[in-house]
Every structure is written in structure tokens, then in C-alpha cells.
Symmetry: C2
Subunit: 271 residues, 2 copies
């Protein structure tokens, strides 16, 4: 188990401590959201944007956040200070909290959400990824959950497992129209006919914070990408708030390499 | 909070006790499954089928269950004995357990799943339900998660919330083809042109245990149901392992009443 403590509802606790009841709706129903934040020492990257996105996601599920951004930021800084990692990933998780009543939407919803932060050491070197296109499951691009980081990662888990069992690193997920949406924990950028392309959010892509910055750094078309297009990719990479990872191959077809990829250092230094 | 204790990994604990770490993958990723079981006193209805379905669902996510059916059944009986409710709903939840590593599918997955049971008093009288057809989200019928009761209930939550905000009781969920899949926590049976119909599981309907029995009791077509068909419904009801609930109206159009509905007593007395 991780040696760093956790921060929960305003206090630090030990990692091994049990902190959640059996009735927490994050656990029972996936009724919550989260953010994954890159940190150098005690400094979080893009923290303001992460907290704004957390609040927006919470509003989609109508989960109140009682604590101010300052209190949350201070808590994360305390956590990072205790961990003392050089590079780390902070996970900030918000659930609706323990419910006194069973059912999806009982008359009295819990008023004490669970807000917690954990931290893990981050290995920033990324090796090129072997990708497959998931055939077992698809991204539900018609769900509002596609546009937020909710706790409902079951489909992503299934797609990742499919990749691992196929001796690959990760999976590309198609949407209900059979077009590319994303990878299991990242947005996807592909160079096709000399142009960078990435799926629009309406295709099921999460509006990632790294993606948002890459749209400004690179000359990218937000567009639809079909499996036929994927067969024509020359270079590609995945992006999320932690890293940029080049794609080595897709369904066994090798790409040309890392030529023309944006530098990770450029992205993660930028505000 | 519920006065009855909870049963977790082989022991009884108090309801208010914190039992889950911040790293439990059921909480962080929806990496788990559950069953909802009707009980009279300490006797569970259809327990063997519920445990078989739990094991099947666990295998879809590759979560091991170390405890035998007998030990789980004994634990639930202890729980029900402590609760001493006349009619109750037992919820049996299995998650992959706390993970020492971050990421969707780390090299070393946790080997100690969380298996817990909670119990809530059940009100068995059901009033006819006012239904709307959800327009905010859809059922992902192309996901294997549709065929199991996973912890990923986010879309069902959104659909239910849409119903409550529209001053209705519950929502019917369409699939990506725009056809009926299910309600938010139940299968749907509708009488159209004098014939009972219910969506096939390939449309996104969960293979419910009550549904399975109703297919034998009633003369039902497993079929596709379009919104056009829904506009022609004369009678309808929802079913799950806890209850049969007649439908009062759909999107404001009143149905004919409870005429020809199967008796709840027939279903829930049957093995």
C-alpha cells in the first residue's frame, strides 16, 4: 500500500485507514466524479482548471461541494508535503456520500458528500504503446457521463482488460456509430494525410485538459475518425493530465514513430 | 442510518462502521457487481439464482470470489437475523477490493475482493408509476455491462433524476438504436395490440430473475419495442427481484390500468 496518507473531508488520514461506509453511493452506484492531477513536489499543474472541471462534473450529477477551492488546494498541498514525491499523480474523488436510504434517488439524499485526495508516485517516462481497437465494448457517446470524469469506468476497464489479454498496452474505444472516441484513460491524436486529427467531444471524447491545450499548441482538426481512417494513421499519441504517450502500433500495424509529436515538456510546463 | 448491521468478508460489523479504504476499486472505478435480493424474515427468495448470477457477473469482470455459496448464505442469514425485518431487501456487493497500484489494470491486481451485504426494510405495496422516456441519456446495449449488475449506475441515476425533476416516478431508457431497453432499476413489460412484449437482452435489458420467471408465467414476446410501439401500450408494468410495479402513464398518456397484470404474490411465492 502507498506510504503517503490520504486527505478526506478536510483532514489527513493514514492510507490503511478505512474511510468509507458500505452505504457510500460512490461505492454502491458510481454516484461520483474525480480528477487526476499531475504534481511536481507540492505544486499541482493546472489545479484551477481541475477544480473548475470537478465542480462542473459535480453539477451534472447535482452533488454539492461544501469546501472552497482554497481549502481543497491547501489539503492537497498538505497531502503532497507528507508524500514528498518529486513527481506524482493526485487523485481527487468526490462522491455523493453515504445514503441513509436505498434506491437510486431517494426523497432525502445525503448532504455530506465524500471528498478525498490520494497521491501516487508518478513515473513520467512513457514507452510507445501497443494499441488494439476494442471489440468487446463501446463508448456511450450519447451519455452525459462521456463529458465528465464520473466513477463509472466499467467499460474502460473492460476495454483495457481486452488489450492486456491480447498482449497489448491499451485499447482505442469506438462509439455507437463505430467511430473513434478515445482510449481508456486518454484522448487520442492521430496524424492522417499529414494532418493532426482528434475526435470531437460529441463523438464521446472527454474534454481533457491536456487535449484543450494541445488544440492550441498543434494544428488539429476536431473531427470524426473512422476505422478506415485509423488504418491510414502515420503517427499518433495519447494525452491526459499526466502524460503524452506515443502510439507504437494499432492492431499490429506499426506507425512511423514519434516524428512530429509535441514535446511532453512543452505541454506540462504550460499553464 | 439503518439500524441493521452489515456483513463484510465473513463478519458482522455495525452499520456506521467505516469498512472500505479510499483505494477500493469499487469506489474509485466502479470495478464491481451486486445483487438485490428479496427476503421474508431470514429466508431469501431465489438465493441460489442470485448467487449464480453474482458469480457469472464477477467472471465478466474477472473478480474472484473466495467464499463459498454456503458461507455467503450463512452470512446473509446472520444479517437478516440481526435485522429482524418481516420483509426486506438484501444488497450483496462485490468489488475487486483495495488496489495497491493506481491505473485501470495494474500488473498486480488486488487479491482481496470486498464482499459485503446490507439489508433495508422493504415496503412491498407499490403504487402505479408515472413514467417518462429519458431524453438525457441512453442505455449502452453494446456494452457487456448491460447484461450484468455492475456498480456503474451513473446513466440510470441520470435518467431517474430526469424523471424526478419532471415530477414523474421513473424513466424508461432507450438504447443507441432509439428502442426501449429497460427502466432505471427494472425490466419493462408492455401490452401492445393485446400481446405482452418485453425488450430482448440484446436491446440492453438486464436478464432479470423476475423477468426470467415472468417469461414462463405470461405469454410474452421478447422483441424490439420502438417509441411508436410505446405510444400504443394499453397496460404495462416494471419487474425486478423486489417487486412488480404497474405503470400509470408514460409521458403523460394514461394506460388502461392494472387489468391483466400478473399477481405479485404469484411471482414472489414461486421458486
Amino acid at each position: 500500500m502507498n506510504a503517503a496518507p490520504i486527505w478526506i473531508n478536510g483532514r489527513l488520514a493514514s492510507t490503511a485507514e478505512l474511510v468509507i461506509t458500505a452505504f457510500d453511493r460512490g461505492f454502491t452506484l458510481g454516484d461520483g466524479v474525480f480528477e487526476t492531477i499531475r504534481a511536481h513536489g507540492i505544486r499541482c499543474l493546472w489545479l484551477e482548471d481541475h477544480l473548475a472541471r470537478l465542480r462542473k462534473a459535480a453539477s451534472v450529477l447535482a452533488i454539492p461541494i461544501a469546501l472552497s477551492d482554497t481549502i481543497i488546494a491547501d489539503g492537497i498541498a498538505d497531502l503532497l508535503g507528507a508524500a514528498a514525491y518529486e513527481e506524482s499523480a493526485v487523485r481527487l474523488t468526490l462522491s455523493r456520500g453515504p445514503s441513509e436510504r436505498r434506491g437510486l434517488w431517494p426523497p432525502s439524499l445525503p448532504s455530506t458528500p465524500t471528498l478525498l485526495a490520494t497521491v501516487a508516485k508518478l513515473a513520467t517516462a512513457s514507452t510507445p504503446l501497443r494499441m488494439l481497437i476494442s471489440r468487446q465494448t463501446i463508448r456511450n457517446e450519447r451519455s452525459p457521463l462521456c463529458r465528465i470524469k464520473s466513477l463509472n469506468y466499467g467499460d474502460n476497464l473492460l476495454a483495457r482488460r481486452e488489450a492486456i489479454e491480447g498482449h497489448m498496452d491499451d485499447a482505442l474505444m469506438l462509439n455507437s456509430a463505430g467511430r473513434l472516441a478515445c482510449a481508456t484513460v486518454a484522448n487520442v491524436f492521430l496524424k492522417i494525410d499529414g494532418r493532426w486529427r482528434t475526435p470531437t467531444t460529441s463523438e464521446g471524447a472527454l474534454p481533457g485538459l491536456a487535449r484543450h491545450r494541445l488544440l492550441r499548441i498543434l494544428d488539429v482538426d476536431e473531427t470524426t475518425i473512422t476505422p478506415f481512417n485509423i488504418a491510414q494513421v502515420s503517427v499518433g499519441f495519447l494525452s491526459n493530465s499526466l502524460s503524452i504517450s506515443p502510439i507504437h502500433d494499432i492492431d499490429g500495424r506499426s506507425l512511423d514513430g514519434a516524428d512530429g509529436l509535441p514535446a511532453s515538456t512543452d505541454l506540462f510546463r504550460s499553464q
